[in-house]
Symmetry: C3
Subunit: 459 residues, 3 copies
Amino acid sequence: MRSAPLSAGAALQAFAAELYPICRSITGAGVRQTLRLINRHIELDWHEVPSGTKVFDWEVPLEWNIEDAWVADADGRRVVDFNAHNLHILNYSEPVRTALGLEQLKPRLHTIPAHEDWIPYRTSYYHRQWGFCLRHRELASLRPGRYEVVVDSSLAPGSLSYAESVVPGRSRDEVLFFTHICHPSLANDNTSGMAIATALAAWIAAAPRRYSYRVVFAPGTIGSLCWLQRNRQRLGRIRHGLVLGLLADPAPFTYKRSRRGDCEIDRVVEYVTRSIDPRTRVMDFEPYGYDERQLCSPGFNLPVGRLTRSVNDGYPEYHSSADNLALMSASQLEQGLEACKQVIELLESNRRYINLSPRGEPRLGKRGLYGAMGGRSPADRERAMLWVLNQSDGSASLLDIAQRSGIGFPALKAVADELEKASLLRAARPARPSKPKKAAPARSVRRKRPDIRSTGRRK
Amino acid sequence: MRSAPLSAGAALQAFAAELYPICRSITGAGVRQTLRLINRHIELDWHEVPSGTKVFDWEVPLEWNIEDAWVADADGRRVVDFNAHNLHILNYSEPVRTALGLEQLKPRLHTIPAHEDWIPYRTSYYHRQWGFCLRHRELASLRPGRYEVVVDSSLAPGSLSYAESVVPGRSRDEVLFFTHICHPSLANDNTSGMAIATALAAWIAAAPRRYSYRVVFAPGTIGSLCWLQRNRQRLGRIRHGLVLGLLADPAPFTYKRSRRGDCEIDRVVEYVTRSIDPRTRVMDFEPYGYDERQLCSPGFNLPVGRLTRSVNDGYPEYHSSADNLALMSASQLEQGLEACKQVIELLESNRRYINLSPRGEPRLGKRGLYGAMGGRSPADRERAMLWVLNQSDGSASLLDIAQRSGIGFPALKAVADELEKASLLRAARPARPSKPKKAAPARSVRRKRPDIRSTGRRK
Amino acid sequence: MRSAPLSAGAALQAFAAELYPICRSITGAGVRQTLRLINRHIELDWHEVPSGTKVFDWEVPLEWNIEDAWVADADGRRVVDFNAHNLHILNYSEPVRTALGLEQLKPRLHTIPAHEDWIPYRTSYYHRQWGFCLRHRELASLRPGRYEVVVDSSLAPGSLSYAESVVPGRSRDEVLFFTHICHPSLANDNTSGMAIATALAAWIAAAPRRYSYRVVFAPGTIGSLCWLQRNRQRLGRIRHGLVLGLLADPAPFTYKRSRRGDCEIDRVVEYVTRSIDPRTRVMDFEPYGYDERQLCSPGFNLPVGRLTRSVNDGYPEYHSSADNLALMSASQLEQGLEACKQVIELLESNRRYINLSPRGEPRLGKRGLYGAMGGRSPADRERAMLWVLNQSDGSASLLDIAQRSGIGFPALKAVADELEKASLLRAARPARPSKPKKAAPARSVRRKRPDIRSTGRRK
């Protein structure tokens, strides 16, 4: 992938396929293997948070690893086998080695009755138990009798892994991308998000920008909580953020607004995705979903929205073995990456300007910016200039002007650049976030919190 | 009625029927008899305001009482007879004993030409005159000739009567209900309001609540003005209010917003009545109607809406003898009472909460508040919890959350109670009213205003 | 016209016809002749601004005058002749006397290919060149050969002329009307605006009002910039303004909102024009059009809207010889004038009032303002009184009340007058403009700016 750049949908799909078979969870070897694959493409700051670390109201659990697991019938035939599909194990199952009658076993067996051929994805991170997931058709075919059950897993002190790609910009203000890396062999959820976030981070790293960028790869819930705790002195710098996931299924985009609902990121993502695909759906924030649950909890309330195609719980294959590579398409992945890039470009360009000749229109003709002959309709470019000049009192952003005028953002950006060059316009200082927080240097924070280890930057 | 509780529609209807035949006016024996009947069911603070008392721009008029009134033809036959229907007399007619030709008499005779068989309801409280109301068909049948006219009424110094049921709560903040008691034999307008207000006051008195409650029974206009003057030092305590009337006719509910238009009472009554009957109509404030005219005048501008079914002037039988007991139904009355009770319950429960674990989601599972197995959709109750926790930064009320989430208020109230019990939530202090006023103790105000007599509490 | 008042559409049309043949431009004899014709009907303060005067980012150009211009073929036949139509000359053409082959000539010849029989209107105020405009059919018929070209024009130091009719009112707060006077033989654009503005100024002058009024007649762009510069210390006084133009074509009214979008003028003009013609279109501000471009530039941002019928660039005949007297109708002109008058009347009357008896309703009956008999529906006049009294806390204007109540403005104005007479209402002080500016006396400003000559008031 390093030789063939990630920008093509095929490359995204190939990388997703590489990530798909790994048995991930919120801790353990699967997450680390995933991060290593990502790390091949981008530099990562890698963090390990030890088991037992208090994280707000939570605690990092024991690290879970698994070697093998099966249910075998009286003939020794493995009727459920972790080696066949890693969804077969209830994720985070404690180790067990026992034999049970079918009736005793059944409460440990999870299926989706409505989809007889799909294996469900089930977890039990915080309630210690074991169990298996299987096709309902398989469950139905189990005959009474005694079954051997083996879960060769371990729950032991270790750590939770997460990593981030950080690209400093001219400003310390940050744009945050966030994707969850804890789901085992589910394709859309979330090899799609991981592949796009990786390619996006590579693209970001290629050229420094106005904003600083941070792309976080972390296990859901406890992973984002660890990240929030680790970064809580620096959250005031986050000006815009986007959670990425479910970006390869056939549905059009769904943008879920931030909890605040009226952030710049909300307007920018809606504008970009609708311009790419008018079928884009925009939904209000709700406190169920991915890591926006934590990022937008009332104690943080970050300006973070979420971009997906289908939504969590919103497509039949969700959280089942049917969410496999066949559900994903290269073109959808590529369009998802494209949307993220355009969001960045729009955020970078979405300045507010000050008209330096605000009393009346400036004389554009003498600067070669306006046609020499009057009486005719102005050209589109001239009209765009009049809009930018008229609205540039420091309160309207280029996106505001685009939406008010109906003129496309790129055309306005182009004339704003020309007008700036002609000294008729200057960029206004960015508005400060509504609730500035003291920003402590990241490094000192790290030293102060020995409960969170950082293994530093790997490349 | 004391033995059979008022909650059933039949009891409401029976009480309305008891009130119906009384010849009420803004002063006099009819009002007092009405209050005595109400006083059988609930404790009342009874007030008498002497004739001549200045009340803002008004003055309490002479007390009006009537014994008999008729118009008799040359044969001595009573062609209009107060004994047959007390709408026959122009309410507040001065006494007269005379004989007149038909043409002289006619300007004193009021009918509804469009409804030949209905007697209109007409009054002349402040312009001294006499007159009769009759069916247009009867007027048409009067033959030329001399008519004897007798109005055996009195206009003499006395007092205006009003009464209120006051139930103190844990807070001095008050919820006000207001109903007019001045209309003679009109059923929907307003034996319906009187019956429901009486039953509501009885229900309120059965258990103390957060708010203090005040249910006022007063003659229209001059009665509410007397109440406002008498209570003007305490109006700042009124947090929510509702004028009740016209609650038994077949129409669905109509809620008329407060003059402010965006009070909590506006949202609560709309929510409750629409949930009871989706056909509920909501109308903006207008300065014509019942005592909201005075309560919402610009010098008071109280947070008071109005609940009716049909509106004043909005049904054909309005202010005529056709507004009789047949227009009313027990089920409509019962539903009206039910709506008022639900409004109270919602106001009592409509707290704003503070999430005590606001950084990220609290770990509900360890408190037994969330399912042990992950990967599945959250249960409705879990979803409700996430909503309450996410929104509880002290700014959103449970009703705000209900309307934003689409989850029913009772479900949110139930999980808020659970979360409060689990120390994850605490109620925020209620927001103070926008224009707090100094609240003087009621008793001292009474002493200071000798022009307003109070006969004290009767039971 | 002085003997026959301008109020009739026929008079407006006659005056427009008188103005039509003049070859106007942004400077020169045509503008002065136009102002002299206007000056016959109204007093004018006349201003001359010398060539070379710096005006914000601009400069007053050399004065342009033209005696004759033609293109003649080899036979001496004038194939394009300024005497035939003054649109034939590219407005502001520099003098030339030459002979050219057809191919060399063609780039100087402007047509409208889509409308073969119309002569376009083209200008080149700031880029020195010469050219001719002609029918596309004429261009097509030109045979190869040599053509004599004569433009007998002059570009020489002189001045730009504009004038204004100023009628002081009781308040120094001003209402501004603005119309452009630079277009040569184009009828709708803008003899219609000039005729209506003249008649309006005459009507305004007939009676002093609350506001001061200023009707400005100025060349487009550079003319309004001169006016803005000359008056920049006094712009804070302008409370409402309206640019007038294109008011005689068959289309219904179009009101273009001020840049602010929520000014009183925006609501007033929309209310008035919709009540005259429900087909009235209202459009948001855009920075292309007439002198609202300058008046609403971000450095001034005046509360100025624009009233037209068709909009600039919005009808086929726009800026061509087809915009001639046949496009105009007397009734449209008359309706346009009527709209302006009603706007003034509404602005004058659109007071905010204080209810002087705000606690409860005042007793209207004892003042003879309310019917003596109760029980009936209130009369429309009574209902209007209740609305005005209820809303008059100093925050709602009569127009606010009209829009909230659905009662017509005139009816509300009538009862407000009655209530004021009855001492129940008093007018609130007008709200100050949001950005008050220091207002220097006009005369001293004139003295301080020797670069702008004023020839004083002519009558």
